[in-house]
C-alpha cells in the first residue's frame, strides 16, 4: 500500500521538478487525446510545442502573448501568497482595457496629435486606474463587509464583460463599422511602440519584465512585502507582530488590479488597436495557472507565462495546420494545473510503500 508521509522540511528539488512532471503528464494526456481523435500524435505535439519557437517572428509572438500573462500573474502571485483569492483578474483586465481604450478612442476622435512615447505613460496610468478601481470594489467589500473576495471578484468579471459588451454594441460603436460590435480603430499615435519594426511585439513586454524584477524585490527584500506574506498563512502571527491585515487586503488587490488593468490597456492599444467584445482570451484566468506553475514567484511567473503562451499559440497553430479545435488549449491548461497540484503534494510529503497492518 502506498502511503504519504510528511517531510520535516519541504523538498526544494521537488519544488522545481513538480512543474516539469506536471508538464510531462499533460503532454502524455495530449498524446492519448490526439490518438483518440485520429490524428498523428507526434505531428500534433510538434505543432503544439515546437512550432511556437520556430523563427524570430514566432519568438516575438511568444513574447507578445506572455506580456499580459506575466503582468496578471505577478499580481495574482502576490495576492495568493497573502491568502487573498483574487479570481477576478479577468474583470480587472477588461476594465483596464476599457479605460485605456477609452482614452485612445478619445484621442482618435479628437484627432489629437501626440507622440507614441508621450501617450504610453497615459495609457499605463489609465489601465492601472481602471483595473485598480475595479479591484478596489472587491477590497472595499471585503474590508468593510467581510464579503468573500472569490465570489465578489468573479461576479465582477461577468459584470465587466457585460459592460464592455454594452460599450461596443452601444455608445462606443464605430459609426462606420458596418454595425459590427467594435469601436473605430485607434489612431496610430496611440499604438504601443513596437520593439522591432514588422513584428507585433511591443514595449509592454519590457514593462512586464521590469515589473517582475520590482515585484521580486518587493516580495523578498522589503519589510512591507514580508508583512503581506505573513498574514496569509498565519493571521495570528500577523496580529501579534502588529501587521495590518486590512492593509494586506487593500495592497494586494490594488496592486494586482492595477497590473491586470495595465495588461488590458497594453492589449487593447497594442495588437488589437480597438475595443471589441473579445479583448481577452481568458488571460485573467490563464494567469491563475501561470501563478501556480510559477510557484507564486516572479521568476516563475515569467517562465510559466512563456509555457502557457506556447500552449495558446500552439493551440492556434494546431487549429490552422492540423484541424484541431483551439478549445483544446483550455483542456490542457486545466490538466496542467490539476497535475501540478497533485505533484505538489510530493514537495511536502514522501511516498512510502508500506505493508497493510
Amino acid at each position: 500500500m502506498i502511503r504519504l508521509e510528511a517531510r520535516p522540511v519541504p523538498s526544494l528539488a521537488m519544488s522545481v521538478l513538480s512543474p516539469v512532471i506536471a508538464l510531462a503528464v499533460t503532454v502524455g494526456v495530449g498524446f492519448a487525446l490526439f490518438l483518440a481523435l485520429g490524428k498523428d500524435p507526434g505531428r500534433v505535439l510538434q505543432v503544439f510545442l515546437l512550432e511556437p519557437f520556430h523563427g524570430v517572428r514566432a519568438l516575438t509572438e511568444l513574447g507578445l502573448k506572455s506580456t499580459p500573462l506575466v503582468l496578471c500573474a505577478l499580481g495574482l502571485a502576490l495576492c495568493f501568497r497573502s491568502n487573498v483569492w483574487n479570481i477576478g483578474a479577468e474583470g480587472q483586465f477588461l476594465m483596464g482595457g476599457i479605460a485605456g481604450g477609452g482614452v485612445a478612442l478619445w484621442i482618435t476622435q479628437e484627432g489629437l496629435g501626440v507622440s507614441r512615447w508621450a501617450f504610453l505613460p497615459v495609457l499605463v496610468l489609465a489601465g492601472a486606474l481602471g483595473g485598480g478601481a475595479w479591484a478596489a470594489v472587491v477590497a472595499w467589500l471585503k474590508d468593510r463587509f467581510n464579503a468573500n473576495e472569490i465570489l465578489v471578484s468573479l461576479m465582477l468579471v461577468y459584470v465587466a464583460n457585460l459592460f464592455l459588451s454594452w460599450l461596443v454594441f452601444g455608445p462606443w460603436k464605430d459609426p462606420q463599422g458596418f454595425n459590427f460590435p467594435q469601436t473605430m480603430s485607434f489612431a496610430a499615435a496611440t499604438e504601443v511602440p513596437r520593439v522591432v519594426r514588422g513584428m507585433r511585439l511591443h514595449w509592454g513586454f519590457a514593462f512586464a519584465l521590469g515589473a517582475a524584477v520590482v515585484m521580486w524585490v518587493y516580495m523578498f527584500r522589503t519589510y512591507h512585502g514580508l508583512q503581506l506574506q505573513v498574514g496569509g498563512p498565519s493571521p495570528a502571527a500577523a496580529r501579534y507582530a502588529g501587521f495590518s491585515s486590512r492593509a494586506a487586503v487593500w495592497t494586494t488587490l490594488l496592486v494586482s488590479g492595477a497590473l491586470a488593468g495595465v495588461a488590458g490597456a497594453f492589449e487593447v492599444a497594442g495588437p488589437m488597436g480597438q475595443l471589441t467584445p473579445h479583448v481577452s482570451s481568458g488571460y485573467g484566468f490563464t494567469a491563475i495557472i501561470v501563478a501556480f506553475v510559477g510557484r507564486l514567484h516572479p521568476l516563475g511567473c515569467i517562465l510559466g507565462s512563456l509555457l502557457l503562451s506556447v500552449f495558446l499559440i500552439g493551440g492556434e497553430l494546431a487549429q490552422s495546420r492540423v484541424g484541431l479545435p483551439s478549445a483544446l488549449t483550455g483542456v490542457f491548461q486545466g490538466v496542467l494545473l490539476l497535475s501540478l497540484l497533485a505533484c505538489d503534494t510530493l514537495v511536502h510529503n514522501r511516498l512510502r510503500v508500506g505493508r497493510l497492518r
Binding site: E5, P8, V9, P10, R221, T222, Y223, H224, L226, V230, P233, S234, A236, A237, R239, Y240, A241, G242, R357
Partner: protein, 525 residues
C-alpha cells in the same frame, strides 16, 4: 490467578527518525489505577495511541485479560472495552452534550437512551451535566465531564486519561480523583498519564516511568519521593532555581479598571481588571484556562486595542489604544502562548521570523539587510542555545523547546523594559524549561518588569514574587508568593477571593465550588 486487564510486551513504534516507543512493557490489573509518568516527548501519548488503536506498533504484543489481541482501530479498542479521555477534547462545539456523547457510542444506541444514561451516570458520580446544552456554552471543566461521562457510558474495562488535570482547579482535581477511585472500585482498570508527581502519589497504586521512549522503572508512587521519581523521569533531580530577593524599583505597568466586552460568543469579558508590575519583580497570574487570560494578554500586547487609553499604562503613559508595534517601541515585549502560528510563522525561516518583532535589520524604504539579519539571528541562537540547522532553518523544523527558546530569546534580546509572557514552558522539555525560567529570573534581576501568565502552579510558585488569580474575567488582588498556598490559590481560582465574583449558593455549592462554571441561573441539576 486473575490475569492482568492489560499487558503490553516489548511495544516498539518508530516515526521516521524518531523511536517514540522502544521495547515498552506495561502491566495493569483490574481495579488498579496505574500512572504512566514522563516528561513531554517521553512517548506517553504514542503509547496510549497504540493501546487505543489510533496507531499501530511496529513490534510487540498487546494482551487483554491474558489473551493476545490486535487493536487495529479505535473501533476495535472500544469493542474490547477500552475508553479514552483525551487531553485535547474530541468534542463538537455546535452539537449538544447528548449528541456528542452519542457519537462516541455504538450506533445501535438511541439518542434518548443516551440522554437518560447521561443523567444516570452524572447522578451516580455526582457530576453536574445537562444533556441538552450545546457544548460551546460549557466551561473547560464541564467539557471534560462530557468526555468522562462519554467514557463511563461505554461501561469501560480500561479507562485511559491523558493529562486530565491541566484544565482543573485543585478542588476540581480532588473531585476527579473521587470519581476515578469509585470507578476503580467497580473493577475497571485505569491508566493515568501525567507528569505531575504530587497527583500521581495521591491517586495511583503503581506507576511506570518513561524516558525517551524507554521504560526506566516501575514503582509504587506512595513509597517514592519526588527526588527518586524525578530521577527516573529525567535522569537527575529537578534543577533547582537560584533565587535572590527581588529589588523592586519604579512602577512599570499599571492596569486600572480594564473592562472589555467579549469579542464573540466564545470569549470571556474582562471586568475592572487592575494590577501593577514594578521594575525588578516578577508578577504571576494563575488561573484555569478559559477565564480571561487570552483576552487580558491581547489587551496588554496590543493585539486588542479596544481598551481606554488610560486603562493600560506603561511608565505612566496610557497605551490602551496603541498597537503592538507602538508598544514594542515603548519597551513592552510579549511572548505568546502559541509558538507556531502566532509567535512564529511556521513556514518562514528563523531569520525572517525575527522581523516579526524586531526591526534593527531594516534600512531605508523598508529594505531588509539580509546579512545583518542573519548575524542577528545567529547571535540569538548562540546566546540562548537554540538547536537548529542555522538562521535559515524553517521555524516548524525546530522542536518545541528550541523554538520556545528562540522566541523568548528574540524578545529578551530586545532588552525590554516590560516583558509579558504566557505559558513560558508549556510543552517544553525539562532542560529547556529550566533554562527559560532562569532567563526570566535573570531578566528580573537586571531590573526589567515581568508578568507571567501560566496554568502551571508549580512554575508560578517557583519564579514569581507576587501572585494574582484570574477567574471569570476578574482579577484577584495580589499576594506575595511566599505567603501563598496551593489550597488558597485553588479557592481563588474558583472566584472565591474577598470581593471576587459571587460565590455560588444553594445545595450544590460545594460541588460547584470545585470548578469555575457559569452560574446555572437558579436551576438545580
Amino acid at each position: 490467578m486473575i490475569p492482568p486487564r492489560l499487558e503490553l510486551r516489548a511495544i516498539t513504534k518508530r516515526f521516521a527518525q524518531v523511536v517514540a516507543n522502544d521495547d515498552v512493557s506495561l502491566v495493569v490489573n483490574p481495579g488498579e489505577i496505574h500512572a504512566v509518568l514522563g516528561e513531554n516527548g517521553a512517548g506517553k501519548s504514542t503509547l496510549m495511541k497504540v493501546i487505543y488503536g489510533a496507531v499501530q506498533a511496529d513490534a510487540g504484543e498487546i494482551l487483554w485479560d491474558g489473551r493476545p489481541v490486535s487493536v487495529r482501530s479505535p473501533h476495535d479498542a472500544r469493542a474490547l472495552g477500552i475508553a479514552m479521555v483525551f487531553q485535547h477534547f474530541s468534542l463538537f462545539d455546535t452539537l449538544t452534550v447528548a449528541e456528542n456523547v452519542w457519537l462516541g457510542l455504538p450506533p445501535s444506541v438511541k439518542l434518548q437512551e443516551v440522554s437518560d444514561g447521561i443523567r444516570r451516570k452524572a447522578a451516580e458520580y455526582g457530576l453536574d451535566l445537562h444533556p441538552e446544552k450545546p457544548v460551546h456554552v460549557l466551561s473547560v471543566g464541564e467539557r471534560q465531564r462530557v468526555e468522562i461521562v462519554r467514557a463511563l457510558l461505554a461501561e469501560p474495562r480500561l479507562l485511559i486519561l491523558d493529562e486530565p488535570t491541566s484544565v482543573l482547579t485543585p478542588q476540581a482535581v480532588e473531585k476527579l480523583f473521587e470519581t476515578l477511585r469509585k470507578l476503580a472500585a467497580t473493577g475497571c482498570a485505569i491508566l493515568y498519564i501525567s507528569h505531575k508527581l504530587d497527583e500521581i502519589r495521591a491517586l495511583c497504586h503503581r506507576c511506570t516511568v518513561l524516558r525517551a521512549g524507554k521504560v526506566t522503572g516501575t514503582a509504587d508512587p506512595s513509597q517514592e519521593t519526588t527526588a527518586t521519581l524525578s530521577r527516573l523521569m529525567i535522569g537527575a533531580e529537578p534543577p533547582r532555581l537560584e533565587r535572590r530577593a527581588a529589588k523592586v524599583g519604579g512602577l512599570a505597568l499599571r492596569v486600572d479598571g480594564l473592562t472589555l466586552p467579549r469579542i464573540d460568543k466564545f470569549g470571556v469579558a474582562l471586568e475592572a481588571v487592575g494590577l501593577d508590575v514594578h521594575e525588578g519583580e516578577i508578577v504571576g497570574i494563575a488561573g484555569v484556562s478559559g477565564n480571561g487570560q487570552q483576552e487580558l494578554l491581547a489587551a496588554l500586547s496590543g493585539e486588542d486595542p479596544r481598551a481606554d487609553a488610560g486603562a493600560v499604562q506603561l511608565f505612566g503613559r496610557g497605551i490602551g489604544r496603541a498597537g503592538a508595534r507602538q508598544r514594542r517601541k515603548l519597551g513592552l515585549h510579549f511572548v505568546p502562548e502559541e509558538r507556531l502560528g502566532r509567535g512564529a510563522v511556521p513556514t518562514l525561516s528563523l531569520a525572517s521570523n525575527l522581523l516579526l518583532t524586531r526591526n534593527e535589520a531594516l534600512r531605508w524604504l523598508g529594505f531588509i539587510d539580509r546579512r545583518a539579519l542573519r548575524d542577528q539571528t545567529s547571535g540569538i541562537m548562540r546566546r540562548y542555545w537554540v538547536k537548529a540547522s542555522g538562521p535559515q532553518a524553517v521555524a516548524r523544523s525546530l522542536s518545541g523547546g528550541n523554538l520556545q527558546k528562540y522566541i523568548v530569546g528574540r524578545e529578551l534580546d530586545a532588552v525590554p523594559k516590560m516583558l509579558v509572557v504566557a505559558q513560558p514552558t508549556w510543552g517544553v522539555d525539562v532542560g529547556a524549561a529550566a533554562q527559560i525560567r532562569a532567563e526570566l529570573v535573570a531578566l528580573r534581576d537586571a531590573g526589567c518588569a515581568v508578568l507571567v501568565v501560566s496554568e502551571e502552579l508549580e512554575e508560578l510558585f517557583a519564579i514569581t514574587d507576587r501572585l494574582h488569580v484570574i477567574a471569570k474575567g476578574r482579577l484577584s488582588p495580589s499576594i506575595p508568593t511566599a505567603d501563598a498556598t496551593v489550597e488558597r490559590i485553588g479557592e481563588w481560582m474558583s472566584g472565591l477571593w474577598p470581593g471576587g465574583p459571587s460565590m455560588p449558593t444553594g445545595p450544590d455549592a460545594r460541588a460547584r465550588a470545585g470548578e469555575v462554571a457559569p452560574p446555572a441561573s437558579g436551576s438545580a441539576p
